[in-house]
Symmetry: C2
Subunit: 101 residues, 2 copies
């Protein structure tokens, strides 16, 4: 347990929906709002709340545009978000490793 | 991302303090209340709240006794708790593995 400290876990990332968003964007590169909503099986309102938190932390950047008259919201991880996610994965790897021993 | 589903993450375990308790007990076997409080650098009230949730889920068992006139609260993972924690670690391993690729 010495390698594991709960303070190493970034609460902004740790929330389940936000974790899903970060994990998805880290592999997908970028994605639109509806795609993420579908993958995480969540609602517009719930996803919006969590995206705002990720945006406020500077982890996710949002590009809003229009395709014809349809609004399109595309999201990607920022460099800061990618660094924070790597740190999060490190902390969780430690936990998984320690606990598996 | 196909191997990772946020519904695989057990919310009872995922909370940061509860995760710390589960991880600590999974390696320590059993521990007393003050030892856990010290390791997680939390307060009596906060730790009590989270232990009640873990107890309600049947993941942690609590033994209360006295040493002389001093109350002693010892905790250990139940079999159900150990199984749930292994499942949680599996889900997180998938996430870590998927995201690292």
């Amino acid at each position: 347990m010495d390698g594991f400290d709960i303070d190493d876990i970034d609460e902004v990332i740790h929330g389940r929906v936000r974790l899903g968003v970060m994990a998805f964007l880290s592999t997908a590169g970028e994605a639109d709002f509806n795609e993420i909503k579908r993958r995480l099986q969540t609602t517009d309102g719930n996803l919006s709340v969590h995206l705002r938190k990720l945006e406020a932390a500077g982890y996710v950047a949002v590009d809003k545009s229009f395709v014809g008259r349809k609004p399109l919201t595309r999201l990607h991880l920022t460099e800061k978000g990618r660094t924070a996610f790597v740190g999060y994965l490190d902390a969780m790897s430690k936990l998984v490793g320690e606990a598996a021993r």
